[in-house]
Symmetry: C2
Subunit: 251 residues, 2 copies
């Protein structure tokens, strides 16, 4: 069966795209078939994998029924990792879809035909709790929350959890939390250590044991259009995502 995981947090810049790309790659390296869906109009997951957005069929074509599942999927340089490219046009969709009948279910319906072909489908979400992220939470069976070890990121967590509960109640009773992943952890800083302690207290075993350290190799890799595991496989950043993949597989 196919696990569909939304990677979400409305706080901006907390490592959603970096996690989608590097967890996707690590799962593929563990012999899983993985589909990465770029559902953010910034199209960072698309360019971060070396693809050019808005050149061929993309996620908006699939959502609006202009293309079928088979025509939007692109292969990547990672064996076993495919991508549904993103599109800038997604940002206009929020307003266009506002008055459409089943607006919360469009992505869920689009992804149905991928079930059975992939072990994992990862959905990279934009930094908001608008209609795009709601669609991702309705389409997914589980949510992986990336949490930067900073004050503002911690502050937004309760709003995100409230939204997940609402989606579960209104549209998707199966929605589960895969776990909360601490990102950009700098163990030398008090702030990082304090946030880590406080979150552990508040969330307990919903936290992944793995955390992602702040590591420049993770932020350099996208400029070469490759995941960190292809940019510098021995870096702390790349290795921490391999650990995360093993933990996700065993959950």
């Amino acid at each position: 069966s196919t696990r569909i995981i939304a990677i979400a947090n409305q706080k901006g810049g907390v490592g959603k795209t970096t996690t989608a790309i590097n967890l996707g790659t690590s799962l593929a390296m563990n012999n899983k078939e993985v589909l990465l869906v770029d559902f953010d109009p910034q199209v960072n997951a698309t360019t971060g994998m070396g693809l050019r957005p808005d050149e061929g069929p993309a996620i908006d074509d699939l959502l609006l029924g202009r293309e079928t599942a088979g025509t939007v999927v692109e292969e990547t340089m990672v064996e076993g990792l495919h991508v549904v490219p993103g599109s800038r046009a997604l940002s206009g969709l929020e307003i266009e879809l506002a008055t459409v009948e089943n607006r919360e279910f469009l992505l869920k319906e689009s992804l149905e035909s991928f079930r059975g072909y992939y072990d994992f489908v990862l959905i990279d979400c934009p930094p908001s709790l608008g209609l795009l992220t709601i669609n991702a939470l309705v389409a997914a069976g589980e949510v992986l929350v990336t949490l930067q070890s900073e004050y503002y990121a911690l502050e937004g967590l309760s709003h995100l959890m409230e939204t997940i509960r609402n989606v579960r109640r209104l549209w998707n009773p199966e929605l589960d939390i895969t776990g909360v992943l601490l990102t950009m952890v700098d163990s030398r800083l008090n702030l990082s250590r304090e946030v880590k302690k406080e979150v552990g207290h508040f969330l307990g075993d919903r936290m992944f044991k793995t955390f992602i350290p702040r590591n420049v190799k993770l932020s350099e890799a996208p400029s070469f259009g490759v995941p960190a595991l292809l940019h510098d496989a021995r870096s702390k950043g790349a290795l921490s995502y391999l650990d995360l993949a093993r933990e996700v597989i065993s959950r």
Copy 2:
């Protein structure tokens, strides 16, 4: 006359709120009367100034005509810096406003009555190019773009500039760019230095001479509900915002 400045970038986590709070504080320390408008449903600019969101009248009340300008303004611990508190309810507004007649002008109309009372009005924007940010770009006379010295942030810049041009053409011919501010610069990293060089090349004198270094005091301050200048006035982070204020005043 009152300068209305939108602090914008759809890329998440690039220092918009940190700049709104600390530039606002620095301008007030230069004897300017400043109003900070929290236009992001994450309400970080509100809590970062020690105020409690969703407790009294806020920006959504002003926008929808439920309250007047005089009743939504709150004083802060910084002399000369007032805040219009944000509201989580803003995130629902995007969908609600989708079918309203003059939906792009609602903030502009709401801020009219503040003209003449403040030297500066700073608008903290959410990480998207949706209706909220469009409203801010229509209400403002100028845009300050915060740019993190990272690859994905650089990639999104052309889309932001295109949006600014569209807003200027369609709704706000006066819209100017105050400047582009490099944030979280870590001069030890190649990536930071490379981005800085490339942006200088691409943008020339639209770049502020001042840049903001990565400095933990800037990310610690919000957990105390105070701007960095009150948390640690001698820190590199706080001092760089004083430099920025002088540069903004002289532009």
